[in-house]
């Protein structure tokens, strides 16, 4: 049994804090993914677990043992690196058996274990190949075999698929899930690709600026993001945000007004809040699909359309005259929605959209923390249509 616990881990370089007071509790057999933008401290956190860096403060506990000051080899871990890091002067057998040979296992035991590891990653019959004679996917398998051959308690992977091409990446993703099932070890996986995180993990740890933002199962992170960062980071394309304030009647901004009872969420009038809604939770009024619990309709103008085949991403703007600027993604005054591919939507049209109240989030603009993940309609139904207004944006 190897639970991994981080207690108040902080790593400071001269004037940069890479990891800031990180607390994590990972159970045995869990597949946990660290996800976050480049430079957020996820790799540093993993290196602290591996023992490649010593934390400035805090403790690393693996399997009940405080390993903070132990070298990597005594921690019962193994690691797969982003650049694969096979030793180029050794063939596959030598690469996989390197750790065992260093530990002076006897020859038969090494042979048996290498064979088994190679079987798990489906590398049979390639034992005498050199790394430069293999494809990227094969090399990645060797790297994984090298890591599992020592029967580690914890398996660390630092963006192992980042250097593979897109198709192979998807394939290796399922392979890794299969591997996790077969091995029954704890896997800690670092990636900046939220699709990898969503598909493979039992839990996702979203990290930003050295701080843990949220650690939850993928769908919880997706449906109930704890703050603006998680809401924006998880999901592709990312969530729409509209900054506004609370009035007596609900949410109000230049473009979007949604009536609800602020008191129900302990919100006081005048508070700055940000409304968040995912592209697939905005519906065209005339669409065949319908929101379960729609808000009053908003008027907008279609701008650029991105047909993806299975859906169309439509950029809407609230101000008809606004210049479209695609460079920085969704801009204030814009709304990205996902519609059915068979909807007859064209560019530069006036459209009416509704949001799904059950999937509409509110965040505190100043702290970024989530307030609610759904907005209940006002009890006195019927008045909602008149309350909703669509501003022209000036």
């Amino acid at each position: 049994m190897a639970d991994v616990t981080l207690e108040n881990i902080t790593k400071r370089y001269e004037d940069v804090t890479a990891v800031d007071d990180m607390n994590l509790d990972i159970k045995h057999g869990e597949f946990v993914t660290f996800v976050g933008p480049s430079g957020c401290g996820k790799s540093t956190t993993m290196e602290t677990i591996a023992g490649l860096t010593t934390p400035t403060e805090g403790k690393v506990i693996i399997g009940g043992r405080d390993v903070t000051n132990l070298p990597p080899k005594d921690r019962g871990i193994s690691m797969v690196f982003q650049n694969i890091a096979l030793f180029p002067h050794m063939d596959v057998y030598e690469n996989i058996s390197f750790g065992l040979r260093l530990r002076k296992y006897d020859k038969d035991e090494i042979d048996r274990r290498v064979e088994k590891a190679a079987e798990v990653v489906q590398l049979g019959g390639m034992m005498d190949r050199m790394p430069d004679e293999m494809s990227g996917g094969q090399r990645q398998r060797v790297a994984i075999a090298r890591a599992i051959v020592r029967n580690p308690d914890v398996f660390l992977m630092d963006e192992p698929l980042a250097n593979l091409d897109a198709k192979l990446r998807v394939h290796m993703r399922t392979e890794l899930q299969r591997l996790h099932k077969e091995l029954d070890t704890t896997i800690i996986y670092v990636t900046h690709d939220q699709a990898e995180a969503m598909t493979m993990s039992d839990r996702i740890a979203v990290i930003n600026a050295g701080e843990l933002q949220q650690i939850d199962p993928p769908l919880t992170c997706y449906n109930e993001p704890k703050n603006l960062f998680v809401a924006g980071f998880i999901g592709s394309p990312s969530m729409n945000f509209v900054e506004g304030r609370i009035t007596d009647n609900g949410f109000e901004s230049d473009d979007v007004n949604i009536p609800f009872e602020p008191a129900a969420y302990n919100l006081s009038t005048g508070a700055d809040v940000t409304l968040g809604v995912r592209p697939e939770d905005v519906y065209l009024s005339r669409n065949s699909r319908e929101a379960a619990d729609p808000t009053p309709p908003l008027t907008a103008y279609s701008d650029v359309l991105e047909p993806m085949g299975n859906e169309i991403f439509a950029y809407l703007k609230f101000d008809e005259e606004a210049e479209s600027d695609m460079e920085e993604g969704v801009m204030p005054g814009q709304l990205l929605i996902s519609v059915d591919p068979d909807t007859d939507i064209a560019e530069d049209q006036e459209v009416e959209v509704v949001l799904d109240r059950a999937k509409t989030h509110l965040f505190d603009t100043t702290t970024g923390n989530a307030i609610t993940h759904q907005i209940a309609p006002v009890d006195t139904a019927g008045a909602s249509g008149a309350d909703a207004e669509v501003g022209s944006g000036d």
Partner: protein, 357 residues
């Protein structure tokens, strides 16, 4: 050069595009042809067209000449021919001539007499104890100097690669001796090794040893020379190794550590094996230098190095230029050449099989 190429190009173009028009003006061959047939007015007027009608064999010859002129071989000649001729004459012809002289009995003043060609100089070499001593010293110098430079250079490179402070400064300091002339380093080490007031004897004196006659004792002299040369050359190996170390990605170190290697095993089993190409190329340079390490010895002792420090290169120069035994000196040069070739040939062959040549 550019103009020549341009002229060639234009000529080739002309020759290709219009076989019938008169191109004799800028073609020396055709001009000569025209001069030869001066009586024939038709030929002068247009040497191509008329000749074709009257003389089919001439036309055929001319076509062949034209094709030859258009071939890549001829067209590229301005690029490869000058260096080829220079190298051929000054290097390979000189080596050949040297070999020829080594077969004669050329000595003293006067001309070479090629009538008594034979291997007698080589036979004499086999019986010359001085030659064997010089060969032995050459090989000892070669092996010890090369190994010492590689080991020291590698150690310095590994230390410098650990992101230490003032890394650039250290790199420059270590490389500096390599930039010095051998005459300078020879003088410098003569002071260092001076029997009465040299720093080396001073240091040994501090621990109660010596003084030693570093450059005088036949048992010490070769070691002293090797040490001085190592001082000069290890900076070079360090730079070669440092470049190779920088090319090894950082996660190789991390992977080895996670797999359980301590620092010693990490370097011995993972990093140093990857430095093989750097070791080979540095060794070739060092070995070839060691074979020719003449100027350093000459700057210290002149024609006759101390017994125990005489190498083939110094013996060769002494035989030829002091004793005027030209042919004998030439035969030593050939032996030296063959040793160099034997050392460099495997390297060149390996480079060739890897497609680097």
């Amino acid at each position: 050069m550019k103009r020549i190429i341009h002229a060639l190009r234009t000529r080739a173009r002309n020759a290709r595009s219009d076989g019938d028009r008169d191109v004799g003006v800028d073609r020396p061959a055709s001009a000569a042809e025209a001069l030869k047939d001066e009586g024939d007015t038709d030929a002068i007027r247009s040497d191509g067209g008329v000749a074709a009608e009257t003389d089919p064999t001439g036309e055929y010859e001319r076509r062949r000449l034209q094709r030859w002129r258009d071939s890549d071989f001829v067209q590229s000649a301005p690029f490869w021919l000058p260096p080829f001729l220079l190298m051929g004459f000054f290097v390979y012809a000189a080596i050949g001539w040297n070999f020829l002289i080594s077969l004669t009995e050329y000595s003293g003043f006067g001309d070479v007499d090629y009538s008594t060609i034979g291997l007698h100089n080589y036979v004499e070499l086999v019986g010359d104890a001085g030659f064997w001593a010089a060969t032995r010293n050459t090989l000892v110098l070669l092996v010890a100097f090369t190994l010492a430079c590689l080991v020291l250079g590698l150690s310095l490179a590994i230390l410098l690669d650990r992101k230490i402070r003032f890394e650039r400064t250290f790199r420059t300091i270590y490389l500096l001796p390599f930039a010095l002339s051998f005459i300078v380093t020879a003088q410098f080490w003569m002071w260092m090794y001076n029997f009465d007031f040299g720093i080396v004897n001073g240091l040994f004196g501090l621990v109660g040893l010596g003084p030693y006659s570093w450059l005088g004792s036949p048992r010490l002299v070769l070691g002293s020379v090797i040490f001085a040369l190592m001082w000069q050359f290890s900076g070079y190996t360090m730079v070669v190794y440092l470049a190779a170390l920088r090319a090894i990605p950082g996660d190789q170190y991390e992977a080895a550590r996670v797999d359980g290697a301590n620092t010693l095993k990490l370097y011995w089993r993972v990093i140093i094996p990857q430095l093989k190409p750097a070791t080979v190329s540095a060794s070739v340079v060092l070995v070839l230098f060691a074979l020719k390490a003449f100027d350093f010895l000459y700057a210290i002792w002149g024609f006759r190095p101390r017994r125990g420090a005489d190498i083939l290169a110094t013996k060769m120069v002494r035989e030829a230029f002091q004793r005027q035994e030209w042919a004998y000196g030439a035969s030593i040069a050939i032996v030296l050449f063959i040793i160099s070739l034997a050392i460099i040939a495997p390297y060149l062959y390996q480079q060739y099989t890897q497609g680097n040549l």
